[in-house]
Symmetry: D2
Subunit: 423 residues, 4 copies
C-alpha cells in the first residue's frame, strides 16, 4: 500500500480543482448526450486532459477517449468512466437541469438527461487524472483512463475494444470503475464477488396460422402459444436455476393480434434475463429456447420460432483479492464512510474491458444523496418511496461531497497499487 | 300456399327488370360505403322504390330505408337487406371493382369493398319490390322492405329499431332475410333452428403494478396474469359448455408492455365468443368474467379488471314452422337447386328486428359462385382452398344466376304467405 | 315392409311368453356376472334357445352365444344383446336386487349389479327369438341372434369376431341392437347418423428425474410436466376440433409422487376421449401425443413418454336408410311412443360387429323408467336430479312395459326386413 | 477465550475415552430407533452420563435426556444432540450396519437406519460430557446437555420444550449444535447468518364436482384445478420472492381420480417450501393460499380448499457474534481444518430451543467422509456422484477422525465461553 503521506500529498490538490470540477459537472449535466453521440462530452474530456500529462487518444470506438500516463516502473491501473445520458425528461428543477432534446430516427423529439449519473463519473475521473498528474512524483507505474461511450446500450465497451483499445492501453494489472448510487453522499461501498447482474434481452417471434375467430380448427393460434410460453417460462427460475443463485426472467412485452375476432398468425414476446454467473446465464438462455421450441411444437406451429438477443450486458464479478485490498484502503481512508455495497440488480458493460484484457477488477459504489435527506427517509422508513433512484427523472446527486468522494476513491484505489512503498 | 299461376305471373316480370338490376348491382359494387355511411346506397334505394307502389321512409336509423306496400287483407311479410360494405381493398380485377377509399377518424386512408355481398342483397330486394309492386293484383296482404345499414358493426338493426322502425312497419307476421354465400350460384339453402351464431366481443383490461424487470418482487406482473387468463379460458369450451352445443372462445388480441426489461402495469385482452343458444352464451360470458376475476386475485391484482362488451350479434335461430314452409316452397320452385344450409359460424344482426317485433323468421342462403368453378374445386377437393369466402378481397359473386335466384327466392317466400288461395 | 297382419300374428304370442320373460329377467338381474364371466347367463340363454328352432352355438368368444334360424329365402337380420354386469353395489331395494359379490385379482370383494340394463336386453332378445321361432310361418329369411359378453370392457364384440363369429352367422344384410335408457318405459327412440360416441382411454407415463424437494435444479419435475400437460390438453377441444363436432377430452386421473418434499421421477395421467367421427377421433389422439411429447421436451424429460390405449369403443353411427326404415315401422307400430333418440355421450362396442361384417346397422333406445315417475320429474324440472341413469346403483327399469316394448321393437325391426309382402 | 493450557488439559482426556466412544457409536449405529421411539438410545445416554458429574433428567418430552453440570460462576452453555434414526434400509455393508426393522401403524415392516448421523452427534456429546466432567477444574460456569428425540419429524425440540425443558436448564447464555455432513472427516465448518432453511409442508385438498368423463359440463373438474394450481404456484418463486433470497416451492405429490373416464370430486396436492427468512417464509405461504383460493374460484369450486401445514422446521440463522467467536476458536484449534460451511438446503428443529430460551446460537458442521476418498472424488469431479449424502442408504461416516473432531469441537466451543481466563 502506498504511504499515507504520498496519498495525502496527492489529495492535497483537491481543494485546487474543486471549482472547475463543479463547473464541469454542471456543464455536463446540462448538456447530456445519448449513447454513441457523446461528442461535446468527449470534447470537454479532451480539453481537460490536455492540461495534464496524460497522453490523449480521442475517437476510440466513436466518441471514446483514452488517456495514458506512463510514470516509471510499477503496475498499470485502468480507471473507467462512462459518458452517455438517457432519453428521460429531467424533472429535478435544478438550476443546471437539462432542457436538451434530440430527435430519434423517426423524427420524434426525445428528451435527454444525465439520469444515471455518468456526469459524476466523468467529472470524478477528470479530477483524479489532474491530481495524479500533478502528484506524479508521489507514485510510479502507469495510469490508464478510459472514458467510455454507450454504457446504457451495453455496447460502448465492446465498441472501444473493437477499435484498438487493448493496443492503446498496453499491459494492465487491474481495472476499476465506480457508480454513483442512491446511498448517502460521502459513502463508498465495496463488495467481493458478484456485484452486478448480467442482462440479456431476447425477442421471440412464434408463428401460428391465422384465420377467422369462429374457426379455430382451421388455425394454429399464436395467442395460445405465446400465453403457454409465458406460463412455462416461470418454471425456469422456479425449477431449473439453483435457489441460492439469483436469476430473474421477465417477459416485459407480449403482443399478438389486432382484433377480437381474428386469430393472428404470429406473436411476439420480449423478455429480459438477469443472472450473476455464466453457468446460470447459459442455462437460462438455453432453457428459454428449449421451452419456446417445445411449446411451438405442442401447437403444431408451422414455422420455427425466431430468437433475437439484444441489450446484452456481462455480469460484474469483483475479484476477491483486489476488492479486499481496496476495501482495506477505503476503510483506512474513509473510516466509517466505507462499508459494504449490496448486490445490485442493475447491469453494466464495464467488465467487458477487464475481461478482454484478462485482468482482475473491482467496481464500487459511491453515494449521491444528501446525507440528511437520506437519514430522514431512513428514519421514516421511506427510503424506497422518497429517494429517487438512477434512471428516475428526479435523480439528482448533490454535488458535494459526491464529487470529492468519487475523486478521492479513484485516487486511493490507484495509489493502493502505485503508491511509493517507503519501507 | 299461393297458386303457382299467381307466382308465375309475378315472376314473369323478371326478364323486364334484369337489365336495371344488373346495372344497379355493378353501381353498388363499385361504390361501396362503410357502416352507417350508406348515403349513396340509400339514395339509389329510394330512387328505385319511388318507381314502385311502395310507400318510402328514408333516414330511418341514419341511412336506413323502409318501404311499405299495403295491398289488401292478409298477413304482413317483412323482407330485410343489409347495405354496408367493409374496409377491405378489393382484389377481384372485375371491371366494376371498387377503387373507393375513405379516411378513418385518425385521417388514415381506408379502402372500401362490398366483400360480403350486401350489394347482392340490396339489388335482389329492389328487384323483388318491383316485381311485387308490378304484380300486386296477384297477391294480397302487406309487404315491408327494410334496407338496413351497419350490419357489419352489429348495430344497424338496433339503430333502426331505436328510430321508430316498429311504428313504421306496423303489425308483421313473418320476417325474412337472405345472404349470398360461397355456394354454387342458383342454389338456395334453408335450415331450421340455429343457423348463425351469436357473437360477442369483449375487451378485458387487467391491472398489475409495473416496475423494473429485474425486481419482479416489487411488482404484480400483468403479462403473467394475461397469459394465465388466456390459458385458463381454454377450459370454458373444454370443460364448461356441453360438447353437443357448439361454442367458440377466441382471444384475438393480447397486448402488454413495450420493452423487454420493464414490467408493465396493465394488459389488454380482446376476445370473441360464438354461441348458438342464449343459455350457452350467458354461461360462457359468465365463465369468462369468473375466470378473469379469479386470475387477477391469484396474482393479487391491485385493481378490479375492466370488461367492455362490443360488436355483439344475436343468434339467428330459424323458426321451424316458417322454415319448413319456405323449404317446401323453395323445393317446389327451385327443384334440386333447393337444399339444406349448413350451420354457419358467422353472425348477423337481422334477428334483432323480428325479435323486437316478436315475429317468427327464417334466414336462408343463396349461392354466389360460378357453378362450374365450384364443381371443379369440389372435384379437386379444393373448395376451402380455391373458393373465396365472404370478407375476402376476392369474394366476387357471379352476377347471374345469383341476382335472379335471390330475387326469385324473396318473391317465392313472400307469396307463400300472401299469394291468392284460389280454392 | 311386412304386412301388418303378419306382424300382428307374430306379436300375438307375446302374452304367452310374458310370464317366463319376467321370471327370466328377475333371475338375470339377481345373478349378475362381470365381463367375460357371463357363465350362468350363457346357460340361461342356451337353455331358452333350445326350446326354439334356432340353431345354437355357445362358447363363442368365451361366453358368447349365437343363434341362427334359416327360414327360407330373404335377407338375414342380425340382432345383438349384451350380457355383462358391472362392479356396482346395488341400492335399489328391489325384491330381486343383486346381492352378488365376486373377488378381483387382488382378492378384494367386488359387488356386482346389472346397473346398465343388459339383463333387459338379453330377456327381450330371448322373447323375440321365441316369437320369431313360433311365428316362422309369417316371415322368411334368416335371423341371427348374437348374445355378446363384455360390452362394458369394450372387447366382447371383438372377442366373438376373433372366435369365428363371421363364419357362424354367414351373410347378413342388416344388424340391430337396442339399449334401455332413462326415458319413459314404452318409448322407443331412433336417430340417424352418429348416436353413440367413440371412446378411447389412454394411460400416459411421463418421466422426470427425482430428487430432494429442496434441490429442484438437480431434478426434472414430473409434477410440473403433468400439470402442464393437463392444462395444455384443454386446447385440443377449445382450439383444434371443429366447434360443430362434439369432442370430449377428460383427464380422469393424475398421480405423481408420494411425499411433499421429494420430487418424484414420473407421473401418470389417464384420460378418456369421446368423439363422433373417425376424423375427429384421429385428430384428437394425434394432438394428445403431440402435446405430451412437446411438454416433455419443454422440461427436458430424460425419457420419451409412454402411451397405452385401452377401453376403446368404436363410434356408433346409424345407417340413414336403415334407420329411416325402422323409424317408419316404429312410428306405424308404436304411434306417439316412437320418436327421436338424442345423441348419447355413452359408447358401445356393438358396431364392431356390423363393421366387421360390412353391413349397415341401427341402434335404438327403449325407455325403462315408470312413465308416471318420469312425467312428474319432468314437470318438476328434476329429471337429471331424480331419474337414476345407467351405471347408477339405483338404476332399476320397471319390468313392464319395458320388456314388452323391447321385445316388440326387435320383432318389428326384424319383420320390416323379413315380413311377407302380400301385395 | 479460555487459555489454551486449560483446553489442552481437558482434551488430553480424549485418548482415554476413545475406545468406549467408538464402541458406543457402533452400538448406536446398529440399534437405530425411529423418532419418538429412542428408548434404548436414551438408556445408553443415561447410563453413560451417570458416570459423570452431570445431573441427569430422563424422559423429557418422551425419550429426551437432559444433563446439567453447574460448576461455579460463569456463563451457561447448552449443547444439543439429536437421537433419532430414519426408515431407510441400510446398504453400507459395515460390520456394525443396522439390520433393525420395526412395524408401522399399518403393520408393515419398516427398516431403520442411522442414515443421518445422529449416532455421531450423540456419541460426540457423550464424549464431550465426560471430558468436561473430568476436567471441571479447568473451567467454571454451567454446561447443559440436551439429547433430543425426533429431529427428523421436526417436533422433538418442541416436545421437550412443552415438557419443562426451560425449567430444567435454567438461564442459558448460548446454545450449540453440530451435524455430520458429506465433507472430509476432520473438517469443521462454520457460517454466520442463515445456515439451514426453514421447511414447511402443506397438504391442500381442492374440491370439484365429480361425474362421467363424457359430461364435463355437469362437473367441476378438480384435475384441471389442481393442474392450474401447480402451474400457477411456479410464479411464487419466479415473480414474488426477491431473487437474492433463496426460496423453493416443490409440489411433491399430486393425486386425483382413479379411472380415465370418471371426473373425480377432489384433488390433493402436497408441497414443501424452503425459505431462509421469516419474511419470505410468510410471503410464500400467503401466496400459496391466495393462489389456491383463486384457482378454486376460477373453476367455480363448490367448497373452499383445505390447507394443512405439517413437518414444519424453523430456519436456522447463526448469531453473527457467537459464530465469529467460535470460528476464531476453531481456527486456532483446528488450523486449516476449520473453514466455512456452505448454506445448506436442509432443515433442523434445533433452533426451536434457543429461540424459546431467547439465546443466541450457532450450528456448525463436521465432516464424516474419509478424506482420501473425498479428495479422490473431488479430483475426479465426482463428489456429487460418488459421495453418499445424509439420508442415503450408504451414508456411513468414518469413525475417526469424525468422533474425535466432533468431540473436540464441542469442548472447544464450550470452553470458549467457560474456560478460565488466566491473564
Amino acid at each position: 500500500m502506498g504511504t499515507e503521506s504520498g496519498l495525502s500529498t496527492v489529495l492535497n490538490g483537491l481543494s485546487g480543482i474543486r471549482e472547475w470540477q463543479e463547473d464541469c459537472y454542471r456543464r455536463l449535466h446540462s448538456s447530456p448526450e445519448l449513447s454513441h453521440h457523446e461528442y461535446a462530452t468527449a470534447d470537454e474530456i479532451v480539453k481537460r486532459l490536455e492540461q495534464t500529462s496524460f497522453e490523449v487518444h480521442a475517437g476510440v470506438g466513436g466518441t471514446g477517449v483514452v488517456g495514458v500516463l506512463r510514470n516509471g516502473d510499477g503496475p498499470a491501473v485502468l480507471l473507467r468512466a462512462d459518458m452517455d445520458a438517457l432519453p428521460v425528461r429531467e424533472a429535478t428543477r435544478l438550476p443546471y437541469a437539462s432542457a436538451v432534446t434530440t430527435t430519434d430516427d423517426d423524427g420524434a423529439e426525445v428528451p435527454v438527461m444525465h439520469a444515471c449519473g455518468h456526469d459524476v463519473h466523468v467529472t470524478c475521473l477528470l479530477g483524479a487524472a489532474q491530481l495524479l498528474s500533478d502528484g506524479a512524483h508521489e507514485w510510479s507505474g502507469t495510469v490508464v483512463l478510459v472514458f467510455q461511450p454507450a454504457e446504457e446500450t451495453g455496447d460502448g465497451a465492446r465498441t472501444m475494444l473493437d477499435d484498438r483499445l487493448a493496443e492503446l492501453v498496453g499491459d494492465v494489472d487491474v481495472a476499476f470503475a465506480q457508480h454513483v448510487l442512491p446511498m448517502p453522499a460521502g459513502y463508498v461501498g465495496t463488495k467481493e464477488g458478484p456485484v452486478l447482474s448480467a442482462a440479456d434481452s431476447m425477442r421471440i417471434t412464434v408463428y401460428g396460422r391465422g384465420g377467422h375467430g369462429s374457426m379455430p380448427q382451421a388455425t394454429i393460434d399464436p395467442v395460445v402459444i405465446a400465453a403457454m410460453i409465458v406460463v412455462r417460462l416461470q418454471t425456469v427460475v422456479s425449477r431449473e436455476t439453483p435457489p441460492t443463485e439469483p436469476a430473474v426472467l421477465t417477459v416485459g412485452r407480449i403482443a399478438s393480434g389486432s382484433k377480437s375476432n381474428i386469430i393472428p398468425d404470429q406473436a411476439v414476446i420480449e423478455l429480459n434475463v438477469r443472472t450473476y454467473s455464466p453457468a446460470v446465464r447459459t442455462a437460462v438462455l438455453d432453457a428459454i429456447r428449449r421451452i419456446v421450441v417445445a411449446e411451438c411444437q405442442g401447437s403444431g406451429s408451422p414455422k420455427d420460432p425466431d430468437f433475437e438477443l439484444f441489450d446484452r450486458f456481462p455480469p460484474t464479478v469483483n475479484d476477491a483479492d483486489v476488492t479486499a485490498r481496496i476495501t482495506e484502503a477505503f476503510t483506512a481512508h474513509f473510516g466509517d464512510s466505507a462499508g459494504p455495497l449490496p448486490l445490485q440488480t442493475a447491469s453494466e458493460d464495464f467488465s467487458d474491458i477487464p475481461t478482454a484484457l484478462a485482468v482482475p477488477y473491482s467496481y464500487w459504489g459511491i453515494g449521491g444523496i444528501d446525507p440528511d435527506v437520506y437519514r430522514a427517509a431512513e428514519e421514516a422508513g421511506r427510503v424506497s418511496a422518497d429517494i429517487p433512484v438512477n434512471h428516475s427523472a428526479t435523480f439528482a446527486p448533490v454535488i458535494q461531497p459526491t464529487l470529492d468522494t468519487g475523486t478521492r476513491a479513484l485516487v486511493v484505489a490507484t495509489l493502493t497499487w502505485l503508491g511509493r512503498h517507503d519501507d
